[in-house]
Amino acid sequence: MGREVAESCIDGVIIEMVSAYCKRFYATKPELAARRIEAIGYQVGHQLIERYTVERPRFSDHLEAIKFICKDFWSELFKKQIDNLKTNHRGTFVLQDNRFRWLTRVSIDPSLDISEASQDSSAVTPENKAAEATSMHLYFPCGIIRGALSNLGIPCAVSADISNLPACSFVVRVKA
């Protein structure tokens, strides 16, 4: 279907997009940068889900739609499926990817002085900054999921959790 692009180009564009929004356009307002990046993801997810569901009938319920996201949609985007799906059957879903493709190469400075950092926990340690920078990169995939689901008729809010890289969990809360 159409032409192909090298994956390193996509990786490069995404890294540069996040970097441009965080360091140049909204350097003093990280919340605005985050919202813009998430909005871009929303558009992308919106359009992608159109492409990937063009021959399918409608989804019977929310769970079917989420399962589609976990299997087919995720395979199209990241060449693998979501490893673990949890739900509380009341509108909250947790999608866990044990090796999120866009975060496989994120790596911090191994020589950080942990003992110094713990003494002054209120200060911004290099470890915190790395975690902050990494979380900026998650707004884009969250936006993609949100855009995909809203185009399927499921308004929701999506957040991400990176307590253990390279595994990544996306929490989807469907709006009632």
Binding site: V18, S19, V106, D109, P110
Partner: protein, 177 residues
């Protein structure tokens, strides 16, 4: 010389077989170090696995190494008996073009060198009896591309501080020593 390995995600192509003569437990003053410089001479990485003697402090050592290799490259290109056009000396060459310096050997160590078209210089110091390390240097360059260049947190032109890169590099170099 192929620089773009075309590997997917982080499936680095399997490491090339270590050149004969390595890992044979040759003891003695077996030095083993790696330097990585970028185009403007900033030392991105200096790792040592074994170094019996240090003569200069780290900064001077790195400056000396960079200057030496810069001059050696120009010298070998100028003395090249096979080509007439010396082209643009001092600029990184495309693979297959011009005359590229590979290694020099003394009675106590062997220094292998590789420069990518983007100006990244890799210098590996090993035991003198090992054979050519061009494949190894290419593999290390691939590791660099995968874990450093594609790391969203890395700022190009600054020293490399990446745990993933260090781990993989150590793993690979252990097979060479």
């Amino acid at each position: 010389m192929q620089f773009f390995s075309g590997s997917s995600a982080v499936d680095i192509s399997p490491s090339p077989a270590a050149p004969p003569g390595t890992a044979s437990g040759l003891s003695g003053n077996n030095a083993n170090m790696l330097y990585i410089f970028n185009r403007s001479g900033v030392c991105l990485l200096y790792r040592e696995w074994h170094r019996p003697l240090r003569t200069l402090d780290a900064n001077q050592d790195q400056k000396l190494m960079f200057g030496l290799l810069f001059s050696l490259r120009s010298f070998t290109a100028k003395m090249d008996p096979t080509s007439v056009d010396k082209g643009n000396l001092g600029v990184p060459l495309l693979p297959g073009q011009g005359c590229s310096f590979y290694s020099f050997r003394t009675n106590t160590y062997k220094l292998s060198f590789m420069e990518s078209p983007s100006g990244i210089k890799l210098i590996l110091i090993t035991h003198p009896k090992t054979s050519d390390h061009q494949e190894s240097l290419k593999h290390i360059y691939n590791l660099y591309v995968e874990y450093v260049v594609k790391n969203p947190l890395y700022v190009p032109g600054t020293p490399i501080k990446s745990e993933l890169f260090d781990t993989n590099l150590d793993q690979y170099v252990k097979t060479l020593i």
